[in-house]
Symmetry: C2
């Protein structure tokens, strides 16, 4: 048995999120179909984490175990899988991994980026790639202050949607960095790095921070939600189209087994 | 009668090019349907030029004449049309224009940009937005030299596809500027400004220049095609997905009537 680590990029628009679905149009479904087409047997792909429908990935990570008889190396898997995958999904890197490597459990940090466009007329070429919000005006300095509040170890229960399966009972997480930049005219982006994120947490944090940056809630409202996690929920969830899973970090340890 | 100048942006991927087609999925069809929905009568939209299926626009221009009884100003047309248009097509600016303004015949220059991605694995988020060409390697300095050759007044017959309708008998055009830049890692872009472009001319010029920059044809081949326009055709047409109509220039004269 040989385990491989795959780094994946995808356009979230045409897919039903990461996790396998009955309609078989999830990213995991397409990846597993490509693995089966190449290997000749059904193989399970394990992702670093779920992304919702519409959420993009620049560096999602998944691992799988090749059949014992396979002689393919990491580069051969990359080439073969990319001939089978839809163009909206690509394997951008492939490495041999030790048998105890796990895409989800070995991860030590993840980085997400959230893109907001404020152009008065939402641009057609950005329609599925950003939160297009021409108004009200967003104060970038306030957005930065709101994002700075979430850095550190907090109970983020107020910034978590309930999963239907009732998982995620532990809601403490550490956000190591939160940065706001302007990637272009009439564009804002929030980049968050943390040891883990609850269900819809990035979108709820951005939705809350934008609410503050629009002057419709005070900074103290974010602070209260962090200080009293059982006291209420952030109801403002930023749309999926603006969210990018940028990178999953495995602590700099050599993955190659 | 009141004439209006519209500046349009669109994602070329979902449309059958600019010019009205029987399937009614051309950009012009969608614009005219929106005009009819707003005005209550059929109105003709005149574009600055055709873009092929898959070609994008950041600043296509069209004009139309509002019905005599209409009281809508330019800003009202922009707002109303954008409520009727598909999200892949937007009116980004709208101005009142004098009665002798014509989107095509008043234009003095157009600027096109052509984007080439050289990443080894073509990125999903760029799949309909660039010529994704991982190999062979493109020499940026050679690309620049090849593009420099086309600046000036030339007979570009060798860089024109034949239209089925047999138009475009005059094949002399002036290219005022040709620039190559690197908008990002593993990306190249060619920007061309000229007084007019023949059918598929930008894509044939880029296709030829890339052929040279890949070391598969000498610079002198481009020069020969320019010097002997009847002597042969450039057979290398770069794909539509990489092409953007950036701007149509009307000479800086005030358009507002």
């Amino acid at each position: 048995m040989a385990r491989f680590k795959l780094t994946l990029a995808y356009d979230g628009a045409p897919f039903d999120g990461w996790q396998s679905q009955p309609a078989a149009n999830a990213v995991q479904d397409h990846l597993e179909a490509a693995l089966a087409a190449v290997a000749g047997v059904r193989l399970r792909a394990h992702g670093a984490g779920r992304t919702d429908a519409g959420v993009h990935a620049l560096g999602q990570v998944a691992h799988f175990d090749a059949p014992g008889e396979s002689r393919m190396d990491a580069a051969a898997w990359l080439r073969a899988l990319n001939t089978k995958l839809p163009r909206a999904l690509r394997v951008v890197a492939s490495e041999a991994a030790p048998p105890d490597f796990h895409a989800r459990f070995s991860a030590v940090a993840k980085t997400y980026r959230y893109e907001i466009d404020t152009a008065p007329v939402p641009h057609p070429l950005r329609r599925d790639r950003a939160w297009q919000r021409p108004s009200p005006p967003i104060d970038a300095a306030l957005l930065r202050e709101a994002c700075a509040l979430v850095v550190g170890r907090h109970d983020f229960a107020a910034f978590a949607a309930n999963r239907r399966d009732g998982k995620d009972p532990a809601t403490e997480r550490t956000i190591a960095a939160a940065a706001v930049d302007r990637p272009g005219a009439e564009r804002l982006a929030v980049t968050l790095t943390g040891d883990g994120f609850l269900y819809k947490m990035v979108r709820l944090l951005v939705g809350g921070a934008v609410r503050v940056a629009e002057g419709r809630a005070p900074l103290s409202w974010i602070q209260q939600l962090l200080d009293n996690p059982g006291g209420g929920k952030c109801q403002y969830c930023a749309p999926a189209a603006g969210l990018y899973l940028v990178e999953v970090d495995y602590g700099g340890a050599r993955v190659t087994g």
